[in-house]
Amino acid sequence: MSLLRPDLAVIAANVAPGSRVLDVGCGDGTLMQALRDDKRCDARGMELDSANVGLCVGKGLSVIQGDADRDLAFYPDQSVDYAILSQTLQTTMRPDLVLEELLRIGRRAFVSFPNFAHWRVRLSLLWRGRMPVTRLLPVAWYETPNIHHLTVNDFRELVARRGIAVEGAWFLSGDRQCSPAAANFRAEHAVFLLSRG
């Protein structure tokens, strides 16, 4: 198994073997490949970038070029066990609607995102008064694909307001996990497992 990014490793470790999975924003298909090869999952993907789609097809993966904001509508209700959105929520036009779509298509959804309330981000804003450029947010504000920055607490509030159940949550600092209580300050990124309860 190839070495997965920490948030992908959390997702891969917590997907039930043999399940049907839709990876939205699957990139070069690394997670799908791991799920297919190590967990016998029937993994499908969606990806915006055509070069990445080509890479996925070359790995024998089934990936559709599409846009999470527009093309999820064409997937049938409850057609997969897990809909996965890793590091993509903050790039969508309407993260709230995308979230609803994930839980319409999947019985459960994994969502991972970078936490904008991490202390390094806060320091950058507080001391330098500048939009942060960090390890996880490496691109300057004017060219970043991240158009909807959010924090762990923002996300918690959104899912609570939409009546979405949190079945699991993992908070990562580097490749180490940190406690839920300190997550909004200490976590670089978060992984949530959601369901309609």
Binding site: D42, R44, S50, A51, V53, G54, L55, C56, V57, G58, K59, G60, L61, S62, V63, I64, Q65, G66, F74, Y75, P76, S79
Partner: protein, 370 residues
Amino acid sequence: MSTPITDAAQVLSLARPLPLDGGQSLADVRIAYETHGTLNAAKDNAILICHALTGDHHVVSNHPKTGKPGWWVRMVGPGKPIDTDRFFVICANVIGSCMGSTGPASLAEDGKPWGMRFPVITIRDMVRGHVALLDALGIESLYAVVGGSMGGMQALSLAANFADRTRAALVIASTARHSAQNIAFHEVGRQSIMADPEWRDGDYYAHGKGPEKGLSVARMAAHITYLSEAGLTEKFGRRLQDREEKTFGFDADFQIESYLRYQGLAFTDRFDANAYLYITRAMDYFDLAEEHGGLLANAFAKSKARFCLVSFDTDWLYPTADSRNVVHALNAAGLPVSFVELSAPYGHDSFLLDVPALDRVVEGFLGEGR
């Protein structure tokens, strides 16, 4: 032990009449085809390539009339994306055509050319011919069926209507149904042929001259739909043909005029006007959803195949939306499907031309990560 098969065009004569969608059946059908590579002992490495409207089975061998290289030499061959070292590649001329398979220029029972007595055929009828060929070759299930444009329609039709006959389908620059615009362009072509007095209601074979004017105009109109505006502008712009000034006449002053006239004329040397009528009709009748109760997803209810669809951003004949429509149906049917829109400047013709990204997708999809 695998049986080596030589790279030569062959002709299969069907023992039984071919049933047609129009209700008739066609007797004494001949199917011209070419094979490359070696069929393995399990007979599970065969790929059927389906050709486009004016294509033929000479996918890699030289065209017998024009002497030009096969129409997909860049894609098919040893070590190429459709690798004949690994796959047994079959390409058959569709029925209704004029390159060796039975069509309107073939002789009917009375020893005279069919002409307009030839029954109207459909894409599914063409596929019935392919399936008869697979039967004759002893191939129960294809590794994949591959086609661009009208070839893609055949690939979709085969995967839908003969679901157990293929394990994968690769559909390039194609559609599951002909749009009003598609039909409109074809009708211009057909009317152009039929308006030529030399057409003689399709009974021109004995006169030593066919409706060449009409056929060449049909080809000129169709040729425009295969290219992109940007491609035409880049290749020809408003440049004049071998002259410094406009002539204030109706000669081919512009390079684009000269080019189209040449394309039109060259086409009449290699293609039968009636075959053009019949094949364009088959394409116009194509609506895979309509064949299956109006819902495209239902067309694939029996399929277990993997699918890959490819469109090109400059193709306005079968635009990306047409491919997406198929992808959504396959998704709804729960089938494994990949889709990519590639960027290429050549319009619809991109599937035949130098687009390295297409090579990678074709090789990747057929290679399955191997």
